[in-house]
Symmetry: D2
Subunit: 144 residues, 4 copies
């Protein structure tokens, strides 16, 4: 992966993630931030489940979405912001137990970045795969 | 839309939705269930937001995903269960305020069903659109 | 749909379509151009088929892709160009006989536009649905 | 990748590909068939291009679609057939020159298979990435 435009990329990602109250709500943690790559962990909780007791597909989407987002954000210059344009996710297996979402930039760009995330269960099972498009907003604050 | 295979479809959907603890976690409600069509409402809460104060894209995904799912489930026979195969969502505008997700079957099928959901804000803004594929599991309990 | 930025939008779309040699190769015609909406027809030919004799899924994708593209291009200012960022298509039924792809902008934007296309067979069957993201390139020629 | 259910998988894929008249129309060749993996090549031709002289995005979709399809078909039992349920493709760079589409199964399944394809130009550029869902039709002829 290319060198990040912002040497303080990891701290910038962690601060931004820290403002995502929705991540706190579900108990997700940003475990690792490297240039163009992040990992987000999600411990199992009963209140994250769907009608059959598996982690809700939308919760899988939340951590995959966020993993794609910060993998892209890690490569962007300080002072920029990012929006999710769209994503597509295939659910490959029911989400059981603790999960990790691994997001990776596959095509960085000045305006648009394409990223991919894989979600794995703690037994190693491949639970979901996401392909996402993000847009950088130059010189736009990443705060409310 | 075709007549549902199960006359008790609405109650079956409501009971299933009631077992989705993730929907309770975010405060989503199943407002309307018709054959092949459902509406889910989501009041605004600060703990549903991302770093800029908008409703998290993954939360938009959760209600759109669930709206697609129950629109499909409403047409399925009693005793069946359903899994989300995949979905793709475009975010069209930031999610501000209370939201509603309207899910609709566009192609029912014996094995696979294709559904679409539109997410709107309470000011009428079109916030997101989702296209989803679901698979019916015949004679499979919809419980843990 | 909003008024197009370029009053000569229809002619601009037709000239651009006329340069798409791939459309000529498969025999597709641009039948209708309105602001934010186009229709492309495709007569059946045996050399467009896959192994079972239906129109190839990739050919369905070609006309749906192009219908989305020109629906978006119709709303753009003179002197701009357009690129397809991504698309997702569900195939709903085998493609038999002559087809029409109807493309429509669902969210115009300064940089990004989201469009949808529906493909129908001449017996009225809904064959495919596509959701697509496009990016405008301002002041960029739409020629080689 | 798992061992294929049909030892004659490669010949079965080649015969099926040979019946795809749309592949002949565009000049695509099935170069390699391994269990769960195939490569399709596409020499450049002017009649495959869009309005700016690049290979048409829908043509990229055709070879990616077909590469996903035969990667999945290679793992299926003799006597079965396959349909494309849906796919999503991101275009990462303009398609220039000769192309190759590399399709790979990422989750084989009894009913549904998920596959991915990457399209590269002959200068090594990553041109497109596709994520696709396919459904096996057991004991269904793969012929018209």
């Amino acid at each position: 992966m290319d060198a990040p435009a912002d040497p303080a990329f990891a701290q910038r990602c962690r601060e931004s993630f820290g403002r995502q109250q929705a991540m706190a709500l579900i108990g997700a943690k940003l475990e690792l931030v490297e240039p163009g790559y992040v990992e987000i962990s999600l411990p199992f909780r009963a209140d994250l489940t769907q009608q059959k007791g598996y982690v809700h597909g939308g919760i899988l989407g939340m951590i995959a979405d966020t993993a794609c987002g910060y993998s892209a954000f890690s490569l962007m210059p300080a002072g920029s912001s990012i929006v999710t344009v769209e994503y597509k996710m295939n659910i490959l297996a029911p989400g059981r137990g603790a999960l990790v979402a691994k997001g990776e930039v596959i095509k960085p760009g000045r305006t648009l970045t394409v990223a991919r995330a894989e979600v794995y269960a703690d037994d190693g099972k491949h639970v979901a795969t996401m392909l996402q498009t993000l847009m950088m907003l130059a010189e736009t604050p990443d705060t409310p």
